[in-house]
Amino acid sequence: MSAVVEEKKIIVGGSFLIEERTPEEVFTPEDFTEEHRMIADTARQFMDGEVRPRIDDLEKKDWKLARELVQKGAELGFIGATVPEEYGGLGLDQISGGIIGEALGRSASFATTMGAQGGIGLLPILYYGTEEAKRKYVPRIVTGELITAYALTEAGSGSDALAAKATARLSEDGTHYVLKGEKMWITNGGFADVFVVFAKVDGDKFTGFIVERQEGLANGAEEHKMGIKGSSTTALALDNVRTPVENLLGEVGKGHKIAFNILNIGRFKLGAMCCGGMKLMTSESVRYANERHQFGKPISSFGAIKHKLAEMATRTWVGEALIYRTLGLIESALGVAADAADAESKLRAIEEYAAECSAIKVILSEFADYCADEMVQIYGGYGYSADYPAERAYRDSRINRIFEGTNEINRMLIPGMLMRRAMAGKLALLPAAQALMDELLSPQLPSLDEDESVLAAEAKLARNAKKVALMVLGTAAQKYMAALAEEQEVLLGASNIIMDVYAMESAILRAQKLAASQGEDTAALHLDMVRVFCNDAVERVEAEARNTLAAISEGDELRTLLAALKRFTKNTPTNTVAARRRIADAMIRANRYVY
C-alpha cells in the first residue's frame, strides 16, 4: 500500500490580518465533541460542588483545603489533561485544556492556584526539564501531590522580567547550582513544594531552574490583595538554596525562551478562565435582575438593564469565539508539527500564534472587567456589599489585566510580533500593505456588491477593518522604521484595531458556521450579537485610526488617509437597541446565560 503523503499546511500566525477565512476553516465551540461537552460538565460540577461553596475558607488562607481541592481536581484529571500519558497525564487536546480553564474561571482564586499548578508551574518542567526531572516531578504534580509555583517576578523587575537580580552559580564539584535572591508576587508561594525559578548564571545568563522547598527557601507573609484572596501570593527568599544540575531547565542563558513560550500558553488559559467567569457573572446578573423588583416590575424588564445583559452576553460569546478559534489553530499546528511529541516543535506550534494569544489575554481580561463592572451596577447597592457575589467578582477580575504580562505589554507585543514575522518573511504583511497603498491611490469605482449571504455586511466591515489596520501599521512603519518600537501610543492604537479585527472576524465566522449547520432561525440571536458587536467595533476602529493617523501623518497624505478611512469604516447602523433587547430577552426567559 503506498502511503499518500498529503502535505498539510498550517494557517500562518497573524494571517487573519491579511487573508480571508471561511467558516469551515475555524474551530468553534459548536464543534466540541461529546467528550468535550462532558469534560465541561464535570469540571463545572466540580467547581460548583466542591470549590465555590468553600471560597470563604480559601479566603481565610486555608491552604490545607487549597491543597485538598487541588488534589481532588487532579483526581478528576484537570491538571494532567493535556500532559502526555507517559508523564501521568491524559494526553488530551488543547481544546480540552481551554474547556477546563473556563470551568476553573468560576472561582478566580482557585483558577489562579490551578493556573500555577497546571500551567506556569508545570509546563516549564514538562517542556524544558531533563528527562530525569520530568519523570521525577511531572507525575507527582499531575496528581497534586506536589504543589508548584512559578517565580519570575522580582521587586525590581516585573514587566522587565529579564532584569532579574537573582543569581545562580555552579558548585565547585559541578553537581548543583546555588541560588540566591528574592522573588515577588509568587502565586502558591505560601504552600508550594516545587518552584520554577529564574536566576542569572555568571551575572548575566538568564536561566530557569527547578527548586524544591528546603532550608534557605522561605516565603514571606501573604500579600494583602484587592482580590483573588483565596489564592496564595507571597514573596520568596532564596538564601543559598541548592538544586542539582539535573534540575536545570533548558540551557544556561536561555531562560527567556522558557519565560516567553510558557506565557503564550498562560495567556490563552487566562483568556479561557476569564470567559468562564463571564458566563457565571452573566448568569448571576440575569438571575438577580429577574428577582429584583423596582417600580412594581423585575428590573430585567428595563431597557437599561437589558442593554447591560446583552452586552455582557455578546462579549462573552465573542470572547469564546476568539479562544476556541485560536485553540483550533494551535491544535492543527500541533497535528502538523513534524514530530509533535518533541517539546520544541510543540512550543513552536504554539509560538506561531503568539500574537493571537496576546490578543486573547487583553480582550478577554477587559471583557471580564466590563462584565464585573456591569454586574455590580445591575446589583445596585447590593453590588457594593460583600454579602453578594458582585463585589467579589469585581475585585477578583481586576488582576487579569496585570499578570501574565500587563495589558500594555501584551498590546505592544501584538504589532511588534506581527512586524517581526513580516520582516522574517513568515507573514506577507508588507506586500499586503503595498497593495493597499496602491488601492488608495487608484481611482475608486463605487462598489456594487449585492452580497446577500449571512452577515455579508459585517464581513465587509471586518474586511475593511483589516485594511484600516494595514493602513495604520504601514504608515507608521514607513514613518518610524525601526524606531516604531518607541512610539507606544501608535503601537497601542494599531493594536486595538488589530484586536478588533480578530474579534469581529472570529465572531462572524462562528455565527456563519452556526447558521450554516443549524439554520438561520436557530442562529438568529447569535447573528444579532455579531451585528451589535461589529457595529460598535467599527466605531472603535474608526476613532482609533483617526487619532493614530493624525499623530503620524499630516497634510495631503493625512487627508488621503482619512478619506480612505471614511470609506473603509462606512457603516449603515443596524438597530442595535432592538437586537440587544432580543439578546437579553432570551436569557431573561431562561434565567441564565444561554449562548
Binding site: 469534560i39 464535570t42 466540580f46 491524559l90 431562561a590
Partner: protein, 257 residues
C-alpha cells in the same frame, strides 16, 4: 452481581418553567436537561455495590435522543453499558406504561438488583419503580437511604416519617427506590469520560404491547395555582383572643407551627 439502574432525564432544576400552549406539559424549547436527582443517587449506590461485590452496572433510560447525555454521563461515572429505549413522545406516558416499557426492556437482563430513584423530579409520581417491580415479579423497598450488602443478605434502611427508620432484610433479586442526598455522588473523571466512548449503548424500541399498555391515568390540564389575597381581622380588637385565633390558624390552616 448484575445491577440495573433505571434513570430518567428531566428539565434542569434552575429552569424557569412555563406551561405549554396545550396546557398538558411545560414549554421545552429553551430548557436544558439533567438527570433526575434521586436516579443519580441510585447510580452512585450501584457503583459502590459493584466496587464492593464486583459485577456489572447497566443503566437503562427511556426517552428521545437527548437522553443520551444522561446515559453517557452514567457511563463516564463508571456504569459498564447501557440500554436506551428510544421512542417518540414516550417521555410523557404515565407511570404504568413507563414501568411496563422499562420492565420489558430489562427483563432479559435477569438482574440481581434493580435500582432507581424514589421519584422523578418532573412528574414526581413515585410509582415507576414500584410498578416495575410488580411487573418483573420482584420484591421491592422504597425510599431507601442505606444499602448494606456486606453480609450474606441484603439489608436496606428505609426512611419513614418523623425521623423514624426501618431496617429490612431483602432477598434478591429485588428492586429498590433510592432517596436523594444519601451519599456524595462521584464526579465523572476525564479518564471515565474518554473510556465511556468505547462502552456499549444498545438502542431498543419499546415492546409493542408495552407501548400500547394504555393508561390508568392521564393529565388533563397543567396550570399554576391561583394566588389569592384575603385579609381577615382576628380577635375583634381583643389582643389575647386575636393571638389565640392566630395560633389556631397557624397550626391548623397554614400548618406552619
Amino acid at each position: 452481581m448484575k445491577i440495573v439502574v433505571l434513570m430518567k432525564q428531566v428539565p434542569n432544576r434552575d429552569a424557569i418553567l412555563r406551561v405549554n400552549r396545550e396546557e398538558k406539559w411545560i414549554e421545552e424549547g429553551d430548557l436544558s436537561f439533567e438527570v433526575s436527582e434521586s436516579d443519580g443517587y441510585a447510580l452512585e449506590e450501584a457503583l459502590r455495590l459493584k466496587e464492593k461485590k464486583g459485577g456489572e452496572v447497566v443503566v437503562c433510560s427511556l426517552g428521545p435522543q437527548r437522553v443520551k447525555s444522561v446515559i453517557k454521563d452514567a457511563l463516564a461515572r463508571g456504569a459498564d453499558r447501557a440500554i436506551h429505549i428510544l421512542g417518540d413522545n414516550l417521555e410523557h406516558v404515565g407511570p404504568f406504561a413507563t414501568a411496563k416499557i422499562l420492565a420489558e426492556a430489562i427483563r432479559e437482563e435477569q438482574a440481581d438488583l434493580v435500582l432507581t430513584g424514589l421519584q422523578s423530579d418532573d412528574y414526581g409520581y413515585g410509582q415507576t419503580g414500584v410498578i416495575a417491580a410488580e411487573l418483573l415479579g420482584l420484591p421491592h423497598a422504597t425510599i431507601v437511604i442505606e444499602v448494606d450488602y456486606s453480609g450474606e443478605q441484603l439489608r436496606v434502611k428505609r426512611e419513614l416519617e418523623s425521623g423514624w427508620y426501618q431496617w429490612y432484610t431483602m432477598r434478591t433479586p429485588c428492586l429498590l427506590t433510592i432517596q436523594s442526598g444519601i451519599s456524595q455522588i462521584r464526579y465523572a473523571t476525564l479518564k471515565g469520560i474518554m473510556a465511556a466512548k468505547k462502552k456499549e449503548i444498545r438502542e431498543v424500541q419499546p415492546a409493542a404491547d408495552a407501548a400500547a399498555a394504555g393508561e390508568f391515568q392521564t393529565v388533563t390540564r397543567i396550570y399554576l395555582p391561583l394566588k389569592q389575597k384575603q385579609t381577615q381581622f382576628l380577635g375583634d380588637g381583643d389582643a389575647k383572643r386575636g393571638a389565640a385565633q392566630l395560633a389556631e390558624k397557624l397550626r391548623n390552616e397554614a400548618r406552619v407551627i
